[in-house]
């Protein structure tokens, strides 16, 4: 059971009012997507849930208890960038969290417990499609692979709440689709509540069970900072009417998407074969 209750949350930075009187109840196992224009305060909202920032007023309760004032393992996070440790290999990144808890001084397990953890981490990396990249450093991974690594690193801690800030913002469409399948699958298997920020409305409706639209409720052109953002729309999606995730569908790679769009646009072929020479890339 993980229920998040936000009550009358307000956040100011100096004179600037960012969030104003935000209240929302997220029941257990919600997949909540936060939409809104740039600068609306979506990241700020997520940072407050993470305890990276403190609210100016109002409160956040998780399962009835006030939020711990520091970031804790009950809330995992994947940022848009800088989510994995550049000095650790993929495997070390995933093994990091559990070792911290087990070995307070050295942060390092040995012997049988290390081997067991290693197996668990490798299996998790396999789940996110990184089974072949266990010993690679983040610099050797593509953007999509780094985000999948960040997800695995977070999930091994089995957080009650998973916070995602535009985690797929920098990915190409086919990788993005693969990530959607992955995250919905992981969300279904792990009983956690997800709060995800995105700019992509399509993505919001594919993934979410709940969508919050964050924007300014009023505007004063002479004092743009005087009004903060609130939840202007809060919708619950009917799971029955949701298009099923194309679970079995073959990975649609970039070349296929390109071909589909080309056909629709009625484009004239200037050069190239039937199959356009689009870069063919394994998802990720």
């Amino acid at each position: 059971m993980t229920e998040i209750v936000v009550r009358n949350l307000t956040k100011r930075y100096g004179d600037a009012l960012i969030l104003e009187n935000v209240s929302v109840d997220l029941p257990d196992h919600e997949f909540c997507v936060v939409l809104g224009p740039s600068g609306a305060g979506k990241t700020t909202f997520l940072r407050i849930l993470l305890s990276q920032e403190r609210p100016t007023s109002g409160e956040v309760l998780i399962d009835g208890a006030p939020l711990d004032p520091e970031p804790q393992p009950d809330r995992g996070v994947v940022f848009q960038r800088y989510s994995v440790f550049p000095h650790m290999t993929a495997l070390q990144n995933v093994m990091f969290g559990p070792q911290l808890r087990a070995a307070p001084v050295t942060g390092r397990l040995w012997g049988a417990r290390r081997r067991a953890l290693r197996e668990r981490a490798a299996a998790l990396l396999g789940d996110v499609g990184l089974g072949h990249a266990l010993d690679k450093y983040p610099a050797q991974l593509s953007g999509g692979m780094q985000q999948r690594l960040a997800i695995a690193q977070t999930l091994i801690m089995e957080p009650k709440v998973l916070l995602l800030d535009e985690p797929f913002g920098a990915l190409d469409p086919s990788t993005r689709k693969a990530m959607h399948r992955l995250i919905v699958d992981l969300w279904a298997r792990n009983r956690m509540t997800v709060v995800m920020v995105t700019h992509d409305i399509e993505e919001a409706f594919i993934l979410g069970t709940r969508i919050l639209m964050v924007d300014k409720r009023r505007r004063d052109p002479h004092a743009p900072q005087a009004w903060g953002s609130g939840i202007v729309e809060d919708i619950r999606l009917d799971p029955a009417k949701k298009p099923p995730m194309p679970e079995e569908e073959r990975e649609e790679d970039m070349a296929a998407i390109f071909a589909r769009h080309r056909a629709r646009a009625g484009a004239a072929l200037v050069a190239g074969a039937e199959a356009p020479p689009a870069p063919r890339r394994a998802a990720g």
Partner: protein, 274 residues
């Protein structure tokens, strides 16, 4: 015609280009020395290469009659020991002070301005104080190196710590890391390459302070020897000593670069060097 910025020499050309200025300097010296010696065979300012060979033979491969030592090697051992201790202490201070001072806001407020002030004191100005306080022995010389190098290292590493993206620190906390664990397992490994870089940049200052201390009060060491033979205008000794010091400094720099690449392979991969 390619623009000059786009012309990249291949390996062989690159090596040739790198050696060219050295060869040029040697040839220029040889010609100038020949000319001077032709005009005045007793000239001491620009000895011939033969005179260098004799001096090297005498200092590096002949037992000193008075002390029974090979002077160049004993001088080298003495100087390197001072540098090793001085830099070792500086690095240690940098790790135990610089990393926490960059990471913990309270320590940063407490130590930041103080270390900044320390690093602005000209070390040579306090050399007399060091001699008065620590005496004329080894301690004062090592202390000068530490005084000259440690504040710079501490500040540089503390700055590097503060440049680590905040997200990574938050991330570590969501994985359950304590302050100690973040400092030892996240922050320190990430600034290690920077520590090596600033250590390499400090090598010039390190030798400067060593030689200054040895010139003023010492019974041995490379700097001591240079200043001792200066009285006899012994350029045939001074120049090989200078070349030797330069070579030692170069090797230290090269060794540190290699060690850094080994200990922080991830950084080398990021920079595309591995």
């Amino acid at each position: 015609m390619k623009r000059a910025v786009n012309y990249r020499p291949d390996r062989a050309t690159g090596a040739f280009l790198a050696l060219l200025p050295f060869a040029f300097a040697l040839v220029a010296y040889f010609l100038a020395s020949e000319a001077r010696l032709a005009a005045n065979p007793a000239d001491r300012l620009m000895p011939s290469f033969g005179a260098f060979a004799d001096a090297i033979e005498q200092f590096a491969f002949t037992e000193n009659r008075r002390t029974g030592e090979y002077l160049l090697w004993s001088d080298t051992a003495i100087s390197l020991r001072r540098i090793a201790i001085g830099l070792g202490v500086s690095v240690l201070l940098c790790i135990v002070v610089g990393v926490p001072a960059g990471f913990l806001p309270v320590l940063s407020r407490l130590l930041g301005p103080f270390v900044a002030a320390l690093s602005l004191i000209p070390p040579l100005a306090v050399l007399p104080i060091l001699f008065i306080v620590f005496g004329l022995g080894e301690l004062a010389k090592v202390a000068l190196i530490v005084f000259g190098v440690a504040p710079f290292l501490i500040r540089d590493v503390a700055l590097a710590v503060q440049q680590i993206p905040r997200e990574l620190i938050v991330k570590a906390q969501t994985l359950g890391a304590s302050t100690w664990q973040m400092m030892t397992l996240v922050v320190f490994p990430q600034v290690l390459p920077r520590l090596f870089d600033s250590l390499r940049l400090s090598l010039g200052a390190t030798w400067l302070f060593l030689i200054a201390a040895e010139a003023i009060a010492s019974e041995g060491g490379l700097g001591y020897r240079i200043f001792l033979v200066r009285r006899f205008l012994a350029m045939d000794v001074i120049l090989p000593y200078v070349a030797w010091i330069t070579l030692l400094a170069f090797l230290m720099d090269w060794g540190l670069a290699r060690l850094s690449r080994r200990l922080a392979r991830w950084r080398a991969i990021e920079k595309g060097e591995a």
